[in-house]
């Protein structure tokens, strides 16, 4: 059952693209919440926002192999590769018991459990899973920080006869520049964009950045028919979707009718720091916001469970 490796398409440019590599936090073979149908989701390490409410804070930073997480590991799965002189942190997957103690110990919001993948290596993973998936979603962290890698991956998918039926989606915080989008758009089928707050001050306070870029990305994607979903994370008393509901609804209404508007509920799972003091979003909180938006003519996708 040997599979043919990515046929070296005669195209030298694509060949170069296939050499590109990225830091991958995790790959999921099965996800029902990252785009249409079943998605293979590739999480890339690193983010340029610093959201207080982040549910995966260990995906924000980049590991610098300081080694501080090593003593926290109860399974001796972590070590520094001194012998080969690289001094890089090494994670032994077979020894790891997935307790996540290392993530708690890391002072840089990073993880020792990441892996480098080239486009070629990821294509092999995707090919193996292709009968089961509707498409591929690249997520993060903020995936668009490794834009040229994504361009390489998606263009390879689109030019492969056996994989081009897979849809290529991006999950993003919307911070990518317009010129960045133009590089990706030819290969992108759709994007899911997080809108963290309506007012720019609120956005800044929640994420450390203002939201002008986010709005620009949303509008650009909408104009190209590639805005699959806008996601609103409702944090009662902190996000401003309820207090700004009229303006928000007016904005959402102008988006293409094919764009899904998904409400997500803030939870404590994975969260660190001051946001742990914040109240989580209950089903009732969500219902109040959802009913308000529905009255203003917005069709919503709601969470299927509250934890």
């Amino acid at each position: 059952m040997l599979r043919v490796l990515e046929q070296a398409s005669g195209d030298p440019v694509q060949q170069m693209k296939n050499e590109r590599s990225a830091t991958v936090t995790k790959i999921l073979n099965f996800s029902c919440v990252d785009g249409p149908g079943n998605r293979l989701v590739i999480f890339l390490q690193g983010c340029n926002f610093d959201c207080k409410s982040c549910h995966n804070p260990h995906t924000i930073g980049q590991c610098d192999s300081c080694g501080l997480c090593i003593p926290s590991c109860p399974a001796q799965a972590l070590s520094l590769h001194e012998t080969d002189g690289s001094g890089l942190i090494h994670w032994d997957k077979d020894l790891c018991i997935e307790c996540d103690a290392c993530l708690q110990a890391c002072p840089k919001q990073a993880s020792p459990k990441t892996r480098q993948y080239t486009v070629t290596q990821l294509l092999a993973v995707i090919r193996k899973n292709s009968p089961f998936i509707t498409g591929v979603t690249v997520s993060g962290g903020e995936a668009s920080l490794q834009l040229m890698f994504i361009v390489g991956l998606f263009s390879a998918l689109k030019s492969s006869p056996e994989l081009q039926h897979l849809s290529c989606m991006l999950d993003t915080n919307g911070s990518l520049s317009e010129s960045g989008w133009h590089k990706l758009l030819p290969y992108l089928d759709g994007a899911m964009v997080d809108l963290k707050a309506w007012q720019t001050e609120t956005h800044k306070w929640l994420t450390g950045r203002d939201n002008h870029r986010v709005f620009r990305s949303i509008e650009l994607l909408a104009s190209r028919g590639k805005l699959y979903e806008v996601r609103l994370l409702h944090i009662p008393g902190k996000s401003d979707f309820d207090s700004e509901i009229t303006a928000l609804a007016g904005y959402l209404q102008r988006l293409p009718s094919s764009t899904k508007i998904r409400l997500n509920a803030f939870r404590h799972h994975g969260v660190k720091g001051e946001a742990l003091e914040w109240q989580t979003c209950s089903e009732t909180d969500m219902t109040v916001l959802a009913e308000g938006l529905t009255k203003l003519g917005i069709t919503l996708v709601l969470p299927s469970a509250y934890l």
């Binding site: 099965f30 029902c32 077979d94 469970a305």
Partner: protein, 512 residues
Amino acid sequence: MQMTCQDTFSRIVTDASLTPKQKSNYLALEAEASLPYPNVSSAVSQAMDSGIICDMFEGHAPFKPRYVLPDYAKYLTQGSKYLELEPARNLDEAINALTIIYHHVPSVTNIPVYLGRLDELLMPYVAKLDDETIYNKLRLFWIMLDRTLPDAFIHVNIGPSDNIICRTILRVDAELKQVAPNLTFMYDPDTTPDKLLQQATDNICECSKPHIANYPIHAQTFDDSGFGIVSCYNSLPLAGGANTLVRLNLKQVALLAIDTQDFFTNTLPYYCQLMYELIEARSRYLHEESHFFTSFLIEEGLIQETRFAPMFGIYGMAEAVNCLLGETKASSKSYGHCETANELGYRISAALDKIVKSTPVTYGYRDRALLHAQGGISLDKDVTPGVRIPYGTEPDPVTHIQALAEHHQYYSSGISEILTIDETVKSNPQAMYQLCKGALSLGLREFTANVASNDLVRVTGYMIKLSDIAAFKQGGSRTNTTGLGAEAVANTGILDRKPRVTSHEQAPCYES
């Protein structure tokens, strides 16, 4: 001895949580258990006593086959002399005739395990009836089945073609969310429209039913006279069935082997040979002594003695592999998670296949038994059904399917994996559809999935309601299988993991 027997009888008779009918069943089982066992060598008895070989509590004196699959189409067209019925002329008569004969089809549980491929059976009687009329009739039929044959082992088949009965049954099943009947939808990529498969996989998101069977693979296994999926994922010849099911505990066999080579060259073949001795003894009793094969089902041509086969069951593959590899606790090197472990599993399945295909039996299908990955019973402890990955250690559904697909080619009389899908799939049923298509394209014989929050859960292949388990502890259940389910929950920690399926069949003895 006499005293113990009477004590048991009286405990059954006075048990506050059983209905009179359930009491009668347990009394009958106890009575049969007091007869001498068919003649077997002491080696076989020892293997049975030490839990290496198991007869599934089928009883000491087999007087009915384990599973019977009558040719209901023939019955509907010719009527029945014995039951004093004319051929059916319309849908009402057809449904009525089926309702009657179900009460005359035996099985190991005394309740029929196979109710027929209902769409194919009923389509000739639909005539000009409109959709709503058909819906109303089938809805009442469905409610009747659940209330009068309250056992989750009873099984209806539909598909692979698109028709009004098939679509309506899917609609009714999703609406009523009953435990009975269990339902298998046959999928054939050449004849089943995508939209119909989508309706079936949408139903799985609603109520964890139906199972999706890989029609072309099953059809190739049997001849043109057809087959059916009965009880829990057992595929058997139509107009025939299984005369007995005996199963081999691979974990125990592996524990007795010195190493992998010893396992393949000595232990496994030796215990397979003992399996055959037990199979012969049990089926000989049924075919030669019990007079079962003189019943009206035979006389009227609804079953044929030559279409009954013994099922050669195996379980505990995961533990066997881990034991042979010296993997004592769950890790990334265990069965289901590592290529080396999975490969060893495939080798064991291939070896079993070779033995079963080359060993003749006196009463078999084409003179052979049929290999079966047995789905566990409620009394199993620390041993995983069939070739499945142990509860609670399963990888994601895609990896899960990829790890086990290779086994499926070998288990001609049935094999099933149970995939637990988290409930986010409810707002994206397309994902379930895609997963199912992928699984079948990889050669899975049967696709079965549970959605994590569904009240209907499969314990060992039959469906139970979580709410019924709670209620059973209080005051008994209308459904026969809930007792089994409650026992399985206590013994196998099934609900530790998420809600899930396992597969299988037999009512064990009273309070065993």
